[in-house]
């Protein structure tokens, strides 16, 4: 059984550690916040200028001055701090953010990522994605293993315009957890009931299977 988006987020949440500063992208990555283990303190960075992002506000308590990088109304938590965009990307560039979780259209077996532009479609821009992938020390990509046509999104080389090169460290897809090392995608875990064979079939990039591959605990 392929993982649901929530299950992907929950699996990624297991990468969190006490005291981590974390930047979560739009989409599945945002859901990771719902699976922070109870009792673990993790600080969410929003690159528009906030450390300590809290949940959505209660109805009627929205504050137009308080939004996240997805332009959604949010709240703060005790110990939150606001800053300008230069400092925000400064701390990202300086490697102070422990974990960055992003979505992707394509990832290559050398860790390249494409997630901002599809030729022929209206290009909306890269926002902060290029800064994040170029700077973050630890980047995990949350994505579907294949596109709606069933074609692999884990490739030998990205076909879409790149967002960044050799930066992704781990992919958590609906089918598998894979580390990206110098050798390519190293299969660490597979979705419950999904065979190594199926993953091999749906992974166009170089795949390394290190002996026994356990199932993802869901």
């Amino acid at each position: 059984m392929a993982l649901t988006k929530e299950q992907i987020a929950a699996r990624i949440a297991r990468e969190l550690r006490e005291g981590y500063y974390v930047n979560l992208g739009i989409g599945i990555p945002t859901l990771v916040a719902n699976y922070i283990p109870p009792g673990m303190q993790v600080v969410l960075q929003s690159e528009n200028g906030l450390l300590g992002m809290g949940p959505f506000p209660f109805e009627g308590e929205e504050d137009p001055d308080l939004i996240n990088a997805g332009k959604q109304t949010i709240t703060t938590v005790p110990g939150s701090v606001f800053f300008d965009s230069a400092m925000s990307f400064g701390m990202i560039r300086a490697g102070k953010v422990d974990l960055t979780v992003l979505g992707a259209m394509e990832v290559s077996d050398s860790g390249d990522i494409a997630n901002w532009k599809i030729p022929g479609k209206m290009v909306k821009g890269m926002g902060g994605a290029m800064d994040l992938v170029a700077s973050a020390r630890n980047i995990v990509v949350a994505m579907m293993h294949t596109n709606p046509k069933g074609e692999s999104k884990l490739l030998p080389a990205c076909t879409l315009p790149l967002t960044g090169v050799r930066c992704v460290r781990k992919v958590v897809s609906d089918l598998a957890v894979l580390d990206i090392t110098g050798d390519g995608f190293v299969l660490r875990e597979r979705a419950p009931g999904v065979s190594v064979e199926e993953i091999r079939e749906k992974t166009a990039g170089r795949l390394v299977i290190p002996g026994d591959v356990p199932e993802i605990q869901v």
């Binding site: 137009p64 939004i67 209206m122 790149l162």
Partner: protein
Amino acid sequence: MNKVVLNAEEAVKDIPDGAVLMLGGFGLCGIPENCISALVAKGVRELTCISNNAGVDDFGIGLMLKQKQVRKMISSYVGENAEFERQLLSGELEVELIPQGTLATRCLAAGYGMPAVFTPAGVGTEVAAGKETRQFNGKEYLLEMAFEADFALVKAWKGDTMGNLVFRETARNFNPLMAMAGKITIAEVEELVPAGELDPDLVHTPGIYVHRIFQGRDYQKRIEQRTVRKK
């Protein structure tokens, strides 16, 4: 040393056709609403706008786009705007997309008198095309130039008559950076106070960077994505 001007109209009256403007804000959060209205009323054209986003169809920079006042946008993300898309596809509007952190840092560089900065953002991508690259400690960086803008239009929460500014929450975003970067910086504020009212330890933008300031009015402060939870 009184930098106060009467209103937005007076503040922007010498902005000419063809000017390069910086406009603070992230999405519709912290945008200089009064200045934008005044620019629309004034009808100035052929503008280059450096702004993280381009507003929505009926608010923010979108209002200037609708009047075809903008020749070029320099932004990191320009979604949520149908008229923008139309002008872009028809070739009426030029767009330069740059990474958000690069945008911020090129403002900082201007405000700090640094002619150029190195950033890894965009290395190996089409953003790097034509740009000088350089390795430091085994990592590759792009050389990015400080911005030059004729006018910076920013929105602060509070400001004093000497131009000192304080921002609120995430409405800070690019505003203090652009305030430092403009050749002429115009600040609109929700609350204008006499010099001496702001705690000098807690000012975000020193008045030395601000040339004109005025008490804004009728702020809409629109919310783009109203997300809530139930009580």
